[in-house]
Symmetry: C3
Subunit: 220 residues, 3 copies
Amino acid sequence: MTPGLPDSTFLYIIEIIGTFAFAISGIRLAAYKKFDLFGAYVVGLVTAIGGGTLRDVLLDIPVFWMQTWVYLGVTGAALGIVIIFRKLLVSMNKALFIFDTIGLALFVVIGIEKSLSADYPMWVAIVMGVITGSFGGVVRDILINVEPLFFRKDIYATACLAGGLLYWAAFSLKLPPVLTQSICGITIIVLRMLAIHYNWCLPQLNVNSVKAENELTDNN
Amino acid sequence: MTPGLPDSTFLYIIEIIGTFAFAISGIRLAAYKKFDLFGAYVVGLVTAIGGGTLRDVLLDIPVFWMQTWVYLGVTGAALGIVIIFRKLLVSMNKALFIFDTIGLALFVVIGIEKSLSADYPMWVAIVMGVITGSFGGVVRDILINVEPLFFRKDIYATACLAGGLLYWAAFSLKLPPVLTQSICGITIIVLRMLAIHYNWCLPQLNVNSVKAENELTDNN
Amino acid sequence: MTPGLPDSTFLYIIEIIGTFAFAISGIRLAAYKKFDLFGAYVVGLVTAIGGGTLRDVLLDIPVFWMQTWVYLGVTGAALGIVIIFRKLLVSMNKALFIFDTIGLALFVVIGIEKSLSADYPMWVAIVMGVITGSFGGVVRDILINVEPLFFRKDIYATACLAGGLLYWAAFSLKLPPVLTQSICGITIIVLRMLAIHYNWCLPQLNVNSVKAENELTDNN
């Protein structure tokens, strides 16, 4: 648990739900690509803990999932659930998406607060919040050898960034911690929901006339 | 060398053979994909030291290959051997496979013992054993842009896990270290040999009716 | 800034230019692959700071870009420049290539000197120099899901290695620091320029008769 969080039992439960939802998302994609059981477990685990692991290595603090077996256990439970309820899960897409989004929001809050309690400045904390929320999914996509989705797909990481910036604003105004956390988390949840519903995405760079560097180095 | 290993010269020699075999495996795959000499060296090196590097970074202990140039040197020797004996190597597939499997077994033992001597609990040590044995091959596959083999192919990582669990059992029974190590290593070697011979693999998840998440987010 | 560099303001300016050029290279490739703005920013950032980040994690020293927001800011500026001047940039390929090469040279020098000042031996420092110069581009290529270019393309990483070895030679001869740095950097710049101009590349391994390991394990 992140030290200094008020009502930590509630947040801890949410974190476990988020871990579970992230693991489910990784396991289902791995299953779709016909990974075996162990491979699916690893992809689920990496999706769930990858972001926090990179954060802890960069901050040079003890890696969170090595302190308790709960995260490995939750991923195991997620694998069991996918195996047992795989038909039911199809009709639960919306519920899973909501869990996943709540987990994302809390992962960002936890990433920010862990960085602040390790005495890093706010801008580093926001970067770590985005990393905690996004990096697991990037590694998942690399492991299953597809292009990382969030670079093109929706405003996933952008929602994390927006939440982080509002955390900063609320923190600067010295709002109470629980309110600061809520503003950050709810922003992320609402933005992501709206983005999916209205099919929002960021503009692409228009590059009709831009050559890529590998062509560049050929012609030089 | 890992402190506390009995008969450490023997184990050290095995570790060097394992490093060599892992490097050969990476170099041959890189050659198959028409990498140049430097690229082949890097892929060989990453295959050989990738797992131990991630382990040491996660454990926050000094990275093993930065303590002695031996690992870089062994990889260089492996590159030389592949260049000089490349026709001969084809007929040595079985010997190379055996070296590779022995190396794998010892990498797992070393990963477990390094973690224990850094005061981590046994379940972390087993995870680190699996990482030490498997992660180099995963990075190799990412670098040459193929889907990591072990997620679908054979019981490679599963054998590491089984060896780790038997290490735990032997350790709990307070068997002598050399016996504990042998039980772990021989389990891995035998399991992998049997798995290749009988074409064992783990079951895949059956996902005919499960949509992947990228479809999910489209339809929501 | 690396401690102990003479005339550090000049080197700092060059480092910023190098960061900028690396970020441009990442952003343009991401744009070519139709990434959105945020994705392009992330790819640019990773290209610019990926090598130094891996170096600092392996050396177990504070990660450089977390000490000042300048590197994130420079990447933001690079994104702005690509958006605003994207047509102009096509005709600036040569200038960009020169910036990129100067940045590479300085990244290698910085990687070597950071490692030496953290009391690592010279051979580790040279490896870290190569990593600082090359790894960002490798991660860029993994993120956009192409095979890392430098493994097959030109003598990019080889130039870094040659520069590092000459650094070692000059250092052993106790030449003044600024001369040692210049010999290393200029070697890299000249080698890369010549390599592009004359289309130099390292030999590939000839592997017509070598089976890759995935075939090996099938047939065993």
